[in-house]
């Protein structure tokens, strides 16, 4: 039992209240065997929202909407924001602003990942950065792809995580390109990418292809680093936390 959790009696009370026919579900594989009372506490929290069962590792598309996953979404957005801050503070040539979205996908599946991405861009769109609103679809795509692939075994090893990073970068570029073409004739506003765009269009390449490559130059390194960092953090998380969200651990011992 982790010491920093003043739950105990409170959670047992919650669990007890929920005994009366709120839906129960199996702890997913990978939920570590612990003492019975703690299991009951956590089931009490998880059985909360609308009695939607936590998907066991059956389908990656199982809805995991419990109070816990709803609370995970704003935290994911916060992690995105802080990742961007740290990247700027360390003067890294990357944005690293979607670590939270990627982690939400790894922890709770494609739907929660997608919603985290959407909320992220919607919030920054109405508070600080109006242009980010237009790239909402890109964030949704990142959450979906990571969530699905994480739950189908693509974060079981470092090598696979690298491949996942490349896939995410490619998907982000594919989704962003039409947005760039519609909004800005295919430019991205990023200096390096736009320099390439200028060279390509200048030598007669079609706009959409130059725009795609413009986006690739910017996105692949960034998303690769984002997924690798997220993977390292995910692997280092306490087993208990990952189990809470029904996370996608590749090599877990079943109960």
């Amino acid at each position: 039992m982790q010491p920093q959790m003043p739950v105990g009696s409170l959670a047992v009370a919650v669990a007890a209240v929920r005994e009366d026919g709120a839906s129960r579900m199996h702890a997913p594989e990978g939920y570590p065997a612990r003492c019975g009372s703690e299991r009951r506490e956590v089931e009490g929290i998880r059985g909360g929202a609308r009695g939607v069962a936590v998907g066991s590792k059956g389908s990656p598309w199982a809805l995991r909407f419990t109070t816990l996953t709803v609370v995970l979404i704003p935290v994911a957005v916060g992690i995105n924001y802080v990742g961007k801050l740290f990247a700027a503070a360390l003067k890294l040539p990357l944005w690293l602003d979607s670590i939270g979205t990627v982690l939400a996908g790894m922890l709770a599946g494609p739907w929660v990942g997608a919603i985290s991405g959407a909320v992220n861009n919607a919030i920054f769109g109405i508070t600080a950065d109006p242009i980010s609103f237009w790239y909402l679809i890109t964030s949704i795509a990142i959450g979906l792809v990571v969530g699905y692939l994480a739950f189908t075994g693509w974060i079981s090893s470092f090598g696979r995580a690298v491949v996942l990073g490349l896939i995410v970068g490619a998907v982000a570029a594919v989704v962003s390109t039409p947005i760039n073409v519609i909004l800005w004739e295919g430019q991205t506003g990023n200096v390096w990418g736009d320099a390439l765009y200028t060279a390509l269009v200048g030598s007669g390449w079609p706009i959409w292809l130059a725009s795609f490559l413009d986006e690739v130059v910017v996105d692949i390194p960034d998303k690769l680093a984002t997924v690798i960092v997220s993977f390292l953090i995910f692997k280092a998380l306490p087993e208990r936390l990952v189990g809470l969200f029904g996370g996608a651990r590749g090599e877990v011992a079943s109960l």
């Binding site: 909360g48 609308r50 979404i73 992690i79 924001y81 801050l85 960092v229």
Partner: protein, 254 residues
């Protein structure tokens, strides 16, 4: 974290939904009027609204922030737009063309139109009022919680970044130097922050559960929504401006 600043002008007093409509009309018109004249006229109207709301001085930093992107548009399109025919200026081997410059200007105008339309909402609307208005009109209360929680969580997390940075530095982590050194510092900074905030989610979920968060009853609201008398007139006016834009596109080819 938010660009909103309280105030007491006719725009501030409008309800969030009306301001959402105004911003929406502005964005629709941006794409409806692709010409230079259309974009400039729209920008003038949007700036007038921002001016009467007394927030122009707060919009300036945002405008300056994206100026680089606007300049990039003009330069890049001036150099390589496929429609380029007439050279306008020569700088050694570099030739800027008239057609491309006009395309670039239109793109820069589009950027500023989108920004200004969004700022009508962003600068004068408290984000939590907007979310509350949406929940009032049938959005899910869970969605409301998520949006509001983001605005509260971010300052807390930002505050903890300083603590984590100091702690890791005192243990000898390098945060300056070659790129590889700085890249390596990223994980030890993010790791504790992620773990800490995930542990906190569990407590937060418990606290919410105890207060009936998972129930399906519609919540009631603490605050009354204030709708000024002229809100309906502003909504009609926004729609009239939209029609005016359609007419301008149709009759003048803007």
């Amino acid at each position: 974290m938010s660009l909103y600043a309280p105030g007491d002008t006719w725009v501030h007093r409008l309800d969030p939904i009306t301001k959402l409509l105004m911003a929406g009309v502005g964005i629709v018109l941006t794409f409806l009027l692709p010409s230079l004249q259309g974009g400039a006229a729209l920008l003038a109207v949007l700036l007038l609204v921002l001016g009467t709301a007394g927030v122009l001085h707060r919009a300036v930093p945002v405008y300056v922030g994206v100026a680089v992107i606007g300049v990039t548009f003009v330069v890049v399109q001036g150099l390589v737009n496929p429609a380029n025919v007439h050279p306008l200026a020569r700088l050694g081997p570099v030739v800027l063309y008239r057609e491309g410059l006009l395309v670039g200007l239109r793109l820069a105008l589009r950027l500023y139109d989108i920004l200004s339309a969004t700022l009508i909402l962003v600068l004068v609307t408290n984000p939590s009022d907007l979310v509350e208005s949406l929940v009032r009109r049938g959005a899910s209360p869970r969605f409301g919680y998520v949006m509001m929680a983001v605005l509260q969580i971010i300052p807390t997390m930002v505050a903890s970044t300083a603590t984590i940075t100091d702690a890791q530095r005192s243990r000898g982590m390098e945060t300056e130097g070659r790129l590889w050194v700085r890249l390596r510092a990223f994980v030890p900074l993010m790791g504790p922050l992620v773990t800490g905030s995930l542990i906190a989610t569990e407590e937060r979920a418990l606290a919410l559960e105890v207060r009936g968060f998972a129930g399906n009853r519609r919540p009631t609201f603490l605050k009354e929504e204030r709708m000024p008398g002229y809100a309906a007139a502003v909504r009609l006016l926004s729609l009239a401006v939209l029609l005016l834009g359609v007419a301008g596109r149709w009759l003048l080819g803007w």
